[in-house]
């Protein structure tokens, strides 16, 4: 196989993977939202839907949702503009799946003379591509609001477009600060330069060279702007239930509503990927650069096993407590399923401990160090992404919704000046350092 064919296959495979990643995150995110809101509000959350007594703590509810949404009547209002009305949900979903193409899942590795890249598209425009694609997402909302021919959806669409356009400015300026620091727009370059330790004025600090430490203000601006960009609480004025019923997707039912719903969650997944890639080092494991991981597979294995032990113990313990609480209520599979999953968590911990104990006796085949490093880096990135997914849920069930004037004041009078000031300070510091 020549290198060109290999690159082509590699890019195709990664495109499919990066296209499926947000789709696979959506059911998990919906589950996290339901379960997270439940435990924040002192409830148990969904635990009823089952397949042969297997409930997976409410994950099966997503199957029930799919069946329900597919079987609902697919309505097109007679007064709607049918073409644009149909286009809007597809536009929203398509646009929400595209930006992840430039996010690298792990550092490129060399296997059998070929370089395997974990990034679907390494455009020269890099992060600008992401900004331009996400700004196209507003068209889906505007089209839906206008083509539905409904005053509530029109108001929702207008609010949403005004909000997204206002907050895109702060988002873009926050990213500009990052580009000044890392001297480039290519995403893989930004992530690579986050692998070293933070060096300031000739001193090396015991901190990773992450965007959150170099651009703390930019991080907060980007985070808040991404909440606003995804129309997420506290910025979910576009679907203010109390005044607009459901906002821009009132008139949508069945699969078309499901597409909007999924696009919303997919946007959040993309935001979580972007925040972790740009500001939290992406796939970089803190204090362990890619070279270290590839050259010392023992270190990689140790970190992997350590994660397996701690997570296995934590998950096993929490599930065991939950299983104890559920035990008197149910019989059969429903009763033992939480115990089995808790045992699986403990099994993961014990297995990791066993691998760790015998790790010094393992001789690694030549391809293993690179593959282990890539695996660890993917797990690291996904951990950061899941944390930001949880942050989205956490903030939603904490904050009330902003009033419209508060929203505009925050966007134009607070965040935009702060973003400009941040640019100025960054520029001055960079000049002094030279």
């Amino acid at each position: 196989m020549d290198s060109q064919t290999f690159t082509l296959i590699n890019i195709t495979a990664m495109t499919v993977v990066m296209w499926l990643t947000p789709l696979q995150f959506i059911p998990f995110f919906i589950w996290l939202e339901r379960k997270g809101s439940a435990i924040i509000q002192d409830r148990l959350g969904p635990n009823r839907a089952e397949i042969f007594g297997i409930r997976l703590f409410g994950l099966i509810h997503n199957f029930a949702d799919v069946v329900k949404l597919l079987m609902k009547e697919n309505i097109t209002p007679s007064s709607a503009n049918a073409f644009y009305y149909l286009l809007a949900p597809f536009w929203a979903m398509t646009v929400s799946l595209l930006p992840l193409l430039v996010v690298p899942l792990a550092a490129p590795i060399d296997i059998a003379g070929h370089t395997v890249r974990f990034q679907a598209a390494n455009f020269g425009v890099g992060i600008l591509y992401v900004l331009s694609i996400t700004s196209m997402g507003v068209f889906g909302v505007i089209l839906a609001g206008w083509a539905s021919n409904n005053k509530f959806s029109l108001l929702g669409g207008l609010r949403s477009s005004a909000q997204m356009i206002s907050y895109e400015l702060s988002m873009g300026l926050a990213v500009v600060g990052l580009l000044m620091v890392y001297q480039g727009v290519k995403v893989d370059g930004i992530v690579e330069s986050q692998g070293s330790l933070l060096t300031f004025n000739g001193h090396t600090l015991p901190l990773p060279n992450w965007g959150i430490f170099l651009q703390p203000v930019g991080f907060f601006l980007f985070l808040v702007a991404s909440f606003a960009e995804t129309n997420r609480n506290p910025f979910d004025l576009a679907e203010g239930e109390s005044e607009l019923v459901a906002g821009y997707h009132i008139e949508y039912s069945s699969v078309k509503f499901a597409l909007f719903f999924m696009a919303e969650y997919s946007n959040m997944v993309v935001s979580a990927f972007l925040v972790s890639t740009l500001f939290l080092g992406g796939y970089q494991v803190p204090f362990a650069s890619t070279e270290t991981l590839v050259q010392k597979p023992q270190v990689t294995l140790f970190i992997l096993c350590f994660m397996g032990i701690t997570w296995g113990l934590a998950v096993g313990y929490l599930l065991y407590i939950y299983a104890q609480q559920q035990k008197p209520l149910y019989s059969g599979m429903k009763r033992w399923e939480p115990f089995i999953l808790s045992g699986a968590g403990l099994g993961l911990a014990v297995g990791s401990l066993a691998i760790l104990a015998f790790s010094s006796a393992i001789t690694f085949p030549p391809w293993a160090p690179a593959v282990l490093a890539a695996l660890l880096q993917m797990i690291c990135l996904l951990t950061k992404v899941v944390f930001f997914c949880w942050l989205f849920v956490w903030v939603r069930w904490t904050m009330p919704r902003f009033r419209y004037d508060q929203l505009m004041n925050l966007g134009w009078k607070l965040m935009l000046p702060v973003a400009l000031l941040n640019l100025l300070v960054t520029g001055v510091v960079l000049l002094i350092q030279k």
Partner: protein, 173 residues
Amino acid sequence: MTGAQKLYLPEVLKGLAVTMGHALKNLLNPKGMPVISFPEEKKDLPPTTRGRHRLMKREDETPRCTACMLCATACPAECIHILAAESADPDVEKVPQKFDIDMLRCVFCGFCVDACPLDAIRMDVPEIDLAGYTRESLVYGKEFLMNHDNKDIVANYNPPRPVVWTHGPHAKP
């Protein structure tokens, strides 16, 4: 708002701390959640709960109801449908041949209980999970309403009130 509040972030962090506290508390102690897993666990209803109807019986197991239609007349939801028939007992003029209550229409106001001169209808069965797969299954007939056999329910019934006949053939001086 003070200056610090205008920045939003400190207040947001305070709020996040509160919700995270709840989340951690509930993750580590799920038994402490004020939750009742409804179909499996049921809340004890107070003995005076106004639940679904039942028809009271005389000592000889015939219905007390004489099909006087006062309950059907008082019903604001028009959910009681009575068909009268002649009684075999010479002292009683009529009995209900059919006594249907459409629970889908009932608003649980209790006017029928107030209207009944013979204490023949009561709303004291503590069943609050009335649900069915068809509309017909929620139209309760005379036999169903007169069936007091469910021992779990009977334990929670109102204490039986003594029936005092003030007029008519059963009146006791």
